[in-house]
Symmetry: C2
Subunit: 199 residues, 2 copies
């Protein structure tokens, strides 16, 4: 009764991050109800999105052009000697907004997850290791900017071990009270970090 | 720095039901990370989805074919003399699953919303009125299957008034305790309805 393509779309949309089966079917029928103003322009944009390429150096997406580098990695004003390792592209946007870092990035795309077997083999560190080998200056500092969570810490430990084999010096974003935070409601680990990092 | 098409996709996805700006950007970057297995098949499916047509009688979507009717309205075994008015396509699916109704539907697509001006003029009742005129048997009963909420009730009242002008007899889905419900936590209106509808 329901066209097969509707089921197929619902299934695919339900697999996107944070969307469930019910919301997916609401989305599909709402797309059908506003084809002209919502669905058609969305599909056109998604087609265009798929043309983007991943930077060969950091894997951040960029418009297809003669170079395989994204605008950050291709920018001559960015310091190629420092790399910041981040989990996802949106983390990069947050860090760029702060205008504090002028180096380049390396986007992992995922984190090591202790309950998923082989999750530590999912990210491809090869482009990072190539960068280290071709520019030994990088060994002076690679910054981990991973979220201070169980999986973030595990990932940093895992990659840190590999980088150590290449004699890379690694640092991590400082831990302490966040701006606007309340001492009363701060967890123990953060208090300890804030106390240790006092200045 | 971020390709313009990414911003555009985020904006469009954030307009889909139940999705916010943050989730939209997570979705866009996750699509970019799994182009081959997720994004490309999704875009192909969405293109196919856009080819679906709205039934000229009830507005439920159907595959393009020689008739302008959906599989329910075109089914000779369905009773064309009874119409059930529903808000959205997913409501139809729930009702069909119960296998209690053998008539045809009329999908409104939206409800009257008192805080949105002109929301009562948004749905096109013309196909419904045409059906009533061409088949006076329908006047014996049109069933409202709208959710018992403020907007659902308002919509039923609004459309009910128009149908009355055409001498249509209307009924509403019964109200009472839902299966598995707990008397203790049932609201006053439902208790009153359940008491009144006791049998």
């Amino acid at each position: 009764m329901v066209p097969e393509i509707i089921h197929s779309c619902i299934k695919r949309i339900a697999r996107l991050p944070g969307i469930g089966q019910r919301q997916a079917s609401r989305i599909v029928f709402s797309l059908l109800r506003s084809k002209e103003h919502v669905a058609t322009p969305l599909v056109t944009d998604l087609e265009h999105l798929l043309l983007l390429q991943s930077c060969s150096s950091c894997s951040f997406p960029h418009e297809p052009r003669e170079t395989t580098l994204c605008t950050i990695c291709a920018n001559p004003h960015r310091n190629k000697n420092t790399i910041m390792i981040i989990e996802k592209e949106t983390d990069l946007l947050t860090i760029e907004k702060a205008k504090i870092f002028n180096g380049t990035y390396f986007v992992l795309g995922s984190l090591v997850n202790p309950i998923e077997p082989d999750s530590e083999h999912r990210f491809n560190l090869q482009p990072l290791l190539v960068r280290i080998t071709t520019n030994p200056e990088i060994k002076k500092e690679i910054i981990f900017a991973l979220s201070p969570t169980a999986t973030g810490n595990l990932t940093a430990t895992h990659i840190g071990r590999i980088l150590k084999e290449h004699n890379v010096h690694t640092t991590h974003l400082g831990r302490g009270l966040p701006n606007g935070g309340d001492v009363e409601f701060t967890d123990e680990e953060t208090i300890i970090a804030a106390f240790t990092n006092r200045k």
